[in-house]
Structure formats: structure tokens, C-alpha cells
């Protein structure tokens, strides 16, 4: 069973904790079946730069196909023939397709583990990268001055958390933290175990140096965040050194192959931490490079956007496959990846074979809890249906999707606190609610409208 002392591993504790980590935590990481079974993990992947959602998921037949082909003479993905869109089926009055480089993701879609919430996003009037990213991550549209991130508030208001905070409960798989975690003093920014060790400097004095550093940081731990955050770094380093094997030794399950590079690694690390059963509940990841004003390279193999989609698709599919075990290893059933961007791009391509900043985008969900398919409401692509006569309109607020995940999967009914000022939540039916032994669904607010299998 789960050791109370391990559960008591709090950040910001004393030197004794580090010694405990060294002495006792090794080999205990697979211990607790309850911990394994009773919570989900949410991976939030932010595509920085404004991903061109209409090159990712686009109409392939129907009235809007004509508008699409007219607006995208260079960039359009063909509906048939070479490099044609991968069919997603009918949605409303149109047929939709997926970018042809997303073959892996398409396979997952066909098995029901991918949802696309199209025409979704931040519905303000801004086309700024930085403000939109901030307002999405802070969870307060129209207000970039909020003091804390939406994930910070989720963990502050989530009733079902263990009394003590495990060190790897929430991580930013990144060198710096995303704004979703603003003012969260317990999030651990961590990219790679081998770079995360306290192992430089003259080796004979390393331990003594660490002890002295800890003693000094404890002096103002309670009153000065610079001291407290230094202790978190020290604790996290010690914990990860003891409990997380080097990534190069990690063998993904089921022959899953992640794309090489830092993005594939960030999902691989996430899978590694999930499977170590150390209580990881949320992780934030980034994939940049979507600000394609010029030479987007959408429709042909080897071009820029094509390769971005290929990398994204391969990584997401590898992640799912890696987690797709049975019994106690059925991690995919408890893991949801939410992929979003600060905006979609302008409906009409520009003359540089690129696209400028736009409005509505697509939120992609991947995972066992996901209700596969197309979700939301398609607003149409006729000029009068566009936002500002220029961009895909938004019919689904990003907060609606995230609220549903929190309520239905993360055991937090307090979406009003997570998204202050938001009143529009009813579940869209993009994830299946967790069913507990007592037969009640997770969360008591909202009405469940999906016919979950």
C-alpha cells in the first residue's frame, strides 16, 4: 500500500525530506494501486504562433468546400487524389477531412480516441499572439492582468486532491513555466532528468554544499518566495534523481515511436512520469512555430506545415499507443491531451502562400476518455458567417471544453472559480465522465448530454 510518508512528501519541507527521498522512495514508485486508479492526467499542449486550423481540419465537400477552395487557391488540401485530406466524415452539411500528413492521428480518430472541437477558441476581438496566449492561459478572456493561471486555480479549487502535494503532481515540461501556472508555487518545470541533477562543481563538496544551500534557503522560506522556490528546485531535483530513470533508458510500450526532437521528448517524458504512478495530474507542453505568414507549405510532403503536422500527429499517436495498456497499465483510459492555439488564421491566404492572424481555431482532444468525432457548431465559411468578415467564427468558447474536462474527468466541479466571469458552461460531450464505485458521475453540475458508449 501507499506509504503515508511518501504521500507526505511536500515541497518546501526540510533536509530530512531529501534524505527520505534518498533512503526510501526508490522502488516505491509503482506502489499504490489506489493512486493509479483514482485520478486522471490532463496534458495541455499549446501550439504557439496561431495554428492554421483550416489547413488541419477542413471541409472536403459541401457548400463550404467551395468557399474554402476560393479562399485558399495555393494552400488548399485536395479533397481527393494525391495528398488528399483524410476523411473525417460528415459534420452538419459538410464533409470534413484531416490534413494528409496526420495519418497516425487519423488512425486514432477512426478508433474513436480523437475529438475535434472546431470553430473554438478565445472569442475576444484581439488578433495579438501575446495577449491571446496570456488570456487563454490565464483563463480570463479580455483580461490579461489576472494574477494566476487557470491551472493554478484548478488546483486551488479542486476538492478531490490528496491532502499533501506529491512533487510531480503538476509539471511544466519546459525550461520556463507557462502562464497557465502563474502564481502556482508548486508546479515543477522539468524537461529532462539528466539535465535536472545537482551534479556540478567539485564533487567532494557537493553534498555538503547542497546541505548548506538548503539550510540557507530555509532561513527565509516562509517569508521570501525566492527562498521557497529555491527549495522547490532542490527538492524536485533530489526527487527526480531518485525516482525518475534517465529518458534514454525509457522504452515506450507497444512499440510506440516518438518523433525525434524536443517535442517528441516532452510527450515521452510525460508518458514516463504518468507510468511511474507518482501522482502526475497535469502537465503543460509547448510546440512553437505556427506563425506562418509566409511560405506556409501546407499541401505537399516535405513542406513546412506538412512536417509540423506530421510531427504533431506522430507524437500524439505515439503517446496514446505508449499509454494504451491493460489492467493497471491502462493509462490511456485516464489521460486526456488537449491541444490548442491562441487563434486560427485568416480564412483567405495571403499572396506569400501564408496566412495572417485570424480568429476561430480547433481544439483537438486525444485520449481514452475522449468521445471521438467532430464537436461544436460549424459556423460556415460564407463571408457573412465569418468573424469580422475575415476569419472563422468562434462558436465554442475554449473555457467550455476545458470546464468539461475539469468537471467530468478531473473531479473539479468548480469551473466558475477556475474561469471567473464565465457563465456559459454546459458540457459539450467531448469526454466521458468518470464513473465511480458509488455510481455517481464526477461532478454534479451541468447536464450530461452525450450518449457515451
Amino acid at each position: 500500500m501507499y506509504s503515508p510518508s511518501r504521500r507526505g512528501f511536500m515541497m518546501g519541507c526540510s533536509a530530512a525530506i531529501a534524505n527520505l527521498a534518498t533512503a526510501r522512495f526508490t522502488n516505491m514508485v509503482f506502489a499504490d494501486p489506489l493512486l493509479v486508479q483514482n485520478h486522471d492526467t490532463l496534458i495541455v499542449l499549446f501550439l504557439r504562433g496561431g495554428m492554421d486550423s483550416l489547413s488541419f481540419v477542413m471541409p472536403t465537400a459541401g457548400a463550404d468546400r467551395g468557399f474554402y477552395e476560393t479562399a485558399r487557391p495555393q494552400l488548399k488540401i485536395p479533397a481527393s487524389g494525391t495528398n488528399a485530406a483524410l476523411p473525417l466524415g460528415a459534420w452538419g452539411a459538410n464533409q470534413f477531412g484531416l490534413h494528409p500528413a496526420a495519418t497516425h492521428l487519423h488512425g486514432l480518430y477512426q478508433s474513436g480516441h480523437v475529438a475535434f472541437v472546431h470553430a473554438a477558441g478565445l472569442d475576444t476581438s484581439s488578433r495579438s499572439h501575446f495577449d491571446n496566449q496570456a488570456q487563454i492561459e490565464l483563463g480570463t478572456p479580455g483580461d490579461g492582468s489576472t494574477n494566476d493561471g487557470w491551472l493554478t486555480r484548478h488546483f486551488l479549487t479542486s476538492p478531490g486532491l490528496p491532502a499533501d502535494t506529491p512533487l510531480v503532481q503538476r509539471i511544466a515540461v519546459s525550461s520556463t513555466i507557462q502562464s497557465s501556472w502563474l502564481a502556482d508555487t508548486n508546479v515543477v518545470a522539468f524537461a529532462n532528468r539528466d539535465d535536472f541533477l545537482f551534479n556540478t562543481g567539485p564533487s567532494s563538496w557537493r553534498d555538503a554544499q547542497k546541505t548548506s544551500l538548503r539550510n540557507i534557503l530555509e532561513l527565509q522560506q516562509a517569508t521570501n518566495p525566492r527562498y521557497a522556490s529555491g527549495l522547490v528546485s532542490l527538492d524536485a531535483s533530489g526527487f527526480i534523481e531518485q525516482n525518475v530513470p534517465t529518458l534514454s533508458s525509457y522504452v515506450p510500450a507497444n512499440g510506440a515511436v516518438y518523433p525525434t526532437g524536443s517535442f517528441g521528448d516532452s510527450l515521452k517524458v510525460s508518458a514516463q512520469l504518468i507510468k511511474l504512478d507518482m501522482g502526475l495530474r497535469a502537465a503543460t507542453l509547448d510546440l512553437g512555430g505556427w506563425d506562418t505568414h509566409n511560405g506556409q507549405g501546407t499541401a505537399n510532403d516535405g513542406q513546412y506545415f506538412w512536417e509540423k503536422i506530421q510531427e504533431l500527429s506522430q507524437a500524439l499517436a505515439a503517446f496514446y499507443l505508449d499509454l494504451d495498456g491493460t489492467g493497471g497499465n491502462a493509462y490511456a483510459k485516464r489521460t486526456t491531451v488537449a491541444v490548442m492555439s491562441e487563434f486560427g488564421r485568416r480564412f483567405e491566404e495571403n499572396t506569400d502562400q501564408g496566412t495572417d492572424h485570424g480568429h476561430g481555431g480547433v481544439i483537438t482532444l486525444v485520449g481514452g476518455p475522449v468521445v471521438g468525432g467532430m464537436h461544436g457548431t460549424w459556423p460556415g465559411l460564407a463571408n457573412g458567417q465569418l468573424f469580422d468578415h475575415a476569419d472563422l467564427a468562434i462558436t465554442t468558447d475554449f473555457r467550455r471544453v476545458l470546464s468539461e474536462i475539469l468537471v467530468s474527468r478531473m473531479d473539479n466541479p468548480n469551473w466558475q472559480q477556475v474561469f471567473p466571469g464565465y457563465a456559459g458552461y454546459t458540457p459539450l460531450g467531448v469526454v466521458r465522465p468518470v464513473l465511480f464505485e458509488d455510481g455517481f458521475e464526477s461532478g454534479s453540475t451541468g447536464t450530461w448530454s452525450s450518449t457515451a458508449p
Binding site: 476581438s125 484581439s126 502563474l182 556540478t200 554544499q209 509566409n294 471567473p420
Partner: protein, 595 residues
């Protein structure tokens, strides 16, 4: 499931911004996004007392003191105020760089006085030479296309570490981030030498209007934000948008989509000055997307000559129709203006708008004073910026105003060193003999320790010219307080003190001069733990630290022995390595992060 229910801490009833937007006049669509971090971290003020002005000046007008710097500062005047004023005057007026007025930097840059040559070969090239050699031509001897940016990066680190003219380096770094380009992509990597020299450094003590024209016409920015390809038949709005949002007015003055005609007027009845397109007319409080589109049309045809790599204006690609920019929708640029006039008038308007003054002033105050500078200081500096918009030394005047403010001399610790500043200040504190250059054996290979340093630096999330988005690296503590960044700085500080100049492990020939400095002060090589700690505290921190922290440092050095026991550095290699670890430990302390 656990039964305990936490009481939510968040009970807010906020009117959404969209409801506010429903009114007749538009409200700003956003607040400046980087203000968010500032508020969250406002509790992170240091608990320290205000240190001597030398410490404030050397840490915020520069990259931290080297041994002797504090004494040199204190020799500048009879009292602290006189010294600071003299130092500000000195630093604000750097002479034309020469070996005579900046020997510590130039002996390394030029490979004189026994220092190895850094092997730079591109820093003296003209833009066209850079272009024809590294972009369109064949770089010499297999040298990669990114050789120019690699050299600028190494040269900048060398200047930060060794140059006497520290404020120049602080401002160069500031403006590089303000007009950020990612340095390691095609077109920027080859041209960054010219961008650094002819655009950023050439204007940073000068006039902002001239500076943004130099940026707008720089090959580096024309490519980075795509304006080189913007034409009448296909305007590309990337540069125009970021010019408004990042370079001039700032996101705090962005009113989103919507009509120009319903943006409120700038408070106080300000009107556009004479000589500008809407002279005498009220100034709108901010911009909407239509202003961005009109500006994008104005900059069509501003491009690059593909043969020479130099800015050129292609009149056939320019949109000659009339335009309305920051004028409540009223046409204020007539059709068929003379070549380049449209774009230059956009720059005139942006440089003269009081919102630009406030935006630049806030960022400068944030760099030089604190993460959250008071509005009173920002507004006064911003108003000076706007009032002096035609002065050839406008930017110098604004910087001087901020440095001479009461806030500058009475604020401490409301900023931390970002990771590059952390590294450089450690190198300076310990008189590092660091070789920022290429190896003598292979002129294509960065010197080993520097290569490792840059690799480790990248792990912190902060490395020069490595910020990909156009907004530049953040300048607030929230961005640099992550678990990872703190840990990477712990690792860096300790790693730095362990690098030796030669590969002979039997000698104490380390790049950071920890032992030599002690030997010079204690020729007997017999030093107590108390003496060692008290020798290094002023060098690393420039000031006293918390006595309890000092006691811990003494305990570390003494390792159970009496702090007054003389340690023999000659005979004990373990003591020698412990002294170096002591200095590495000092680099890890929060007091070393304070600025």
C-alpha cells in the same frame, strides 16, 4: 475519493470585458500581457535593506561588479549622490570604442596582451559583404551560414563580461529584446552583425524615430517579419502588426477589431503636432486592426535588394491609395504620395503618439528600476520621451531621467538577474579568464568551455538571440522563477567554478580566479574560514549579507573545525576545492539574484 472539500479561494464577480465592449466607445481589448506576471510576483520583494548606491548602479546599469569596480565608483565623488551622478554621466556618454578606453575588452577581442585571438572574421563586414558571403555566396572554408550570429553572440558576452561601458551593454540587450529577432534562422543569422552594429547600437542613445526607421529598413527585420514580400497585390501584415503591438504603441493601447471611429481620444485633449498627417487633430487613445492593415499597405514595397542584401523601395509594389492611420478613420494620407512617404509617415505618427512614449518608458523603467515601476515614474519618463521626440539624443535623455530618479536610487531587489545576467555577473565577480571565441586549432569550432557554457545556458531558457517570438525575452521575475531555471542556475554557478584553463588536473589553473585572489590577499596561504567567507562576500554580493547566511557559509567552509582555524591552502587540495565550492554556493543564494 477523498471526502475533504477545500473551500475555493476564488470568488469573483467580474464584468466580462466583452460586456464592457458592448458600449459605444471601445475599451482597450487587453492589458499588456506582461503586466500579469508582475502583479503575481509583487510579493517577491526582497527582505534586504537598501545597499550602497555602488551596488545598485553596478547591478542595474551593468552586469554586476568586478573586483575594484565598487572602489572605482566610490572614487567618483565625495558622497553617494555625487558618485552616482558622475557614474551616470560617464556611462551615458561612452566614447567611440577603442583599446585605449576599454582595454579589458579589447585585449580579448583583439587577441593582444597574451590573450588568444577569438578568431572573429565577420564583425567588420558590411551588410553587403555579409549577404554576398554568407547568404548568396559560399562561406569561407565551410564556415556555416550562422557564423555571423555566433560571432555577435560571443562578442556580446565578451563585452558584457569585460567592457567598462556596462550601460551600453545593458541598453544593447534591452533594444535587441525590444526589436527582437530570432538570430538563428535564414536571413537573420547572416545579417545579425549589421543589425547589431548599424541598427541597435547605432541608435540606442539617439532618436527613437530614426531608430524605428532603421529597424523598418533593416534586412534582418524585413525578413524576420516578412515585410520584404509585402506588396500592393498581397500585403503581409506581420511587420505592421508587431510594429504597433511590440515596437511602438504596445498591446496596452490595442483596441482589437472594430472601427477606428469609436476609439476614444487620448486623455487631456492631446492633438497631433505640426508636420504630421493629422496635425492639430485629436490623437486617438490607441489602435485597432484597421490601423494595422492601413499601415501594412503603407509599408508595401519596402523590401530588400536580393543582390546586395540592402534595403530597397520597389515603387511598383507599393499601394498608392489613400490611407487612414490613427485618425478616427479620417483619411490622413493622400493617394500617390512620393516614394516611401506613406511608410515614413506611419513611423512619424507612431513615434509621436504619447502611448508609444509610455510604452517605451515602462519597459525602460522595468529594465533599469524594478519589475513594477510606479506609474508616476513611467508617465514622467514617457512624457519626456514624447516631448523630446525630435531631439537627436532623445533616448539618452529618457534613460538619464530614469537613472537620476529617486526611484532608481531607492529601489533594490525588485528585480532578479535573468539567467544570462546571472552567468555574466558570476564571471565578473570572480574575475573570470573566459575565452569567448573559436579555438586556435579549428577556427570553425567554438572554444570548448564556451560551447559547454552556451549549452548549459540554453537549459535555463535564456540565451542571447535565441528568443523565437518577436516579443523578446520577458523582463519580469515570474518568467525566470521556474523550478528548472533556478536549478539550471544552481548548476551553472557550480559548473563555472570548476572549469580549468588547461587540462592538467594537478594545477589550480581555473578560469574563475578564486584561489589566486586569495593568495594575493594572503601571501602565506594560511587563511581561516571566517577570513575566506569575509573575503568573498563583498566580491560576490558587493554588500553584507544576512548574518545567519554568513554563518552557514562559515560552517560550510569550516566543516566542523573552528572558523578561526587557519587552513593551509598550499598543502590541502581538498581545502582548495572547498574554497571554490564556497564561491559556487554563494552564486546559488537569493541575494546573488537581487538587482
Amino acid at each position: 475519493m477523498p471526502e475533504a472539500t477545500r473551500i475555493p479561494r476564488y470568488r469573483r464577480t467580474e464584468t466580462s470585458r466583452r460586456e464592457l465592449l458592448a458600449g459605444e466607445a471601445l475599451a482597450p481589448a487587453t492589458h499588456s500581457s506582461d503586466d500579469a506576471g508582475a502583479r503575481a510576483l509583487s510579493a517577491t520583494a526582497t527582505n534586504e535593506a537598501l545597499p550602497p548606491l555602488a551596488v545598485i548602479a553596478l547591478n542595474r546599469m551593468g552586469f554586476g561588479p568586478r573586483p575594484g569596480d565598487i572602489a572605482a565608483f566610490n572614487a567618483l565623488g565625495a558622497n553617494d549622490d555625487d558618485r552616482l551622478n558622475a557614474y551616470i554621466q560617464q556611462q551615458l556618454n561612452p566614447p567611440v570604442p577603442s583599446a585605449a578606453n576599454d582595454p579589458d575588452y579589447f585585449q580579448r577581442r583583439n587577441g593582444t596582451n597574451g590573450f588568444p585571438s577569438p578568431g572573429f572574421s565577420t564583425l567588420g563586414l558590411s551588410l553587403t559583404q555579409l549577404w554576398t558571403t554568407y547568404r548568396t555566396g559560399t562561406p569561407p572554408a565551410g564556415s556555416p551560414g550562422n557564423r555571423p550570429v555566433l560571432e555577435v553572440r560571443l562578442d556580446t558576452l565578451m563585452r558584457m563580461t569585460y567592457s567598462k561601458w556596462q550601460l551600453r551593454e545593458v541598453l544593447a540587450d534591452f533594444w535587441h529584446n525590444h526589436f527582437n529577432v530570432y538570430g538563428f534562422e535564414t536571413y537573420t543569422q547572416e545579417t545579425l552583425v549589421a543589425y547589431d552594429r548599424d541598427v541597435v547600437r547605432a541608435h540606442m542613445f539617439g532618436n527613437f524615430r530614426e531608430m524605428i526607421e532603421a529597424v523598418a529598413q533593416s534586412t534582418t527585420m524585413l525578413y524576420f517579419l516578412d515585410n520584404y514580400t509585402s506588396t500592393v497585390s498581397g500585403p503581409n501584415e506581420n511587420y505592421a502588426r508587431e510594429n504597433f503591438e511590440l515596437h511602438t504603441l504596445g498591446a496596452e493601447n490595442y483596441y482589437g477589431t472594430g472601427s477606428q471611429s469609436v476609439v476614444p481620444a487620448w486623455p487631456g485633449g492631446a492633438v497631433w503636432p505640426a508636420g504630421l498627417p493629422s496635425a492639430g487633430q485629436p490623437i486617438p487613445a490607441g489602435y485597432v486592426d484597421n490601423d494595422v492593415y492601413e499601415a501594412a499597405r503603407s509599408f508595401t514595397g519596402w523590401s530588400v535588394n536580393p543582390t546586395t542584401g540592402v534595403y530597397t523601395y520597389n515603387s511598383g509594389n507599393h499601394d498608392n491609395f489613400q490611407k487612414a492611420i490613427l485618425s478616427f478613420g479620417v483619411v490622413n494620407m493622400q493617394p500617390n504620395q512620393a516614394p516611401e512617404v506613406d511608410g515614413n509617415q506611419v513611423l512619424d505618427i507612431l513615434a509621436a503618439h504619447p502611448g508609444t512614449g509610455r510604452h517605451i518608458a515602462r519597459k525602460l523603467c522595468r529594465r533599469l528600476v524594478s519589475d513594477n515601476p510606479p506609474d508616476s515614474l513611467v508617465n514622467a519618463a514617457g512624457d519626456l520621451f514624447t516631448a523630446q521626440r525630435l531631439a537627436p539624443d532623445q533616448l539618452k535623455q529618457v534613460v538619464q531621467f530614469i537613472l537620476e530618479s529617486t526611484e532608481f536610487r531607492t529601489t533594490w531587489g525588485e528585480k532578479i538577474k535573468r539567467p544570462v545576467e546571472y552567468t555574466v555577473s558570476a564571471l565578473r565577480a570572480a574575475s573570470a579568464n573566459w575565452q569567448f571565441g573559436f579555438t586556435a586549432q579549428n577556427p570553425l569550432t567554438t572554444e570548448t568551455d564556451t560551447n559547454d557554457l552556451l549549452f548549459r545556458q540554453s537549459k535555463t531558457g535564456h540565451n542571447l538571440f535565441a528568443r523565437v517570438p518577436p516579443d523578446g525575452f520577458a523582463d519580469q521575475e515570474a518568467a525566470w522563477s521556474s523550478t528548472n531555471t533556478r536549478l539550471q542556475c544552481f548548476r551553472l554557478g557550480s559548473w563555472l567554478i570548476d572549469q580549468s584553463i588547461d587540462s592538467d588536473s594537478t594545477t589550480d589553473d581555473f578560469r574563475l580566479d578564486v584561489l589566486g585572489a586569495i593568495y594575493a590577499a594572503y601571501p602565506s596561504h594560511q587563511v581561516t574560514s571566517n577570513q575566506l567567507v569575509d573575503f568573498w562576500i563583498p566580491r560576490v554580493f558587493g554588500r553584507d549579507i544576512d548574518p545567519e547566511e554568513r554563518a552557514e557559509l562559515v560552517d560550510f567552509m569550516a566543516q566542523g573545525n573552528s572558523p578561526t582555524l587557519a587552513l593551509n591552502l598550499t598543502t590541502s587540495s581538498t581545502v582548495r576545492s572547498r574554497v571554490r565550492s564556497l564561491v559556487g554556493l554563494m552564486f546559488m543564494l537569493p541575494a546573488f539574484l537581487s538587482r
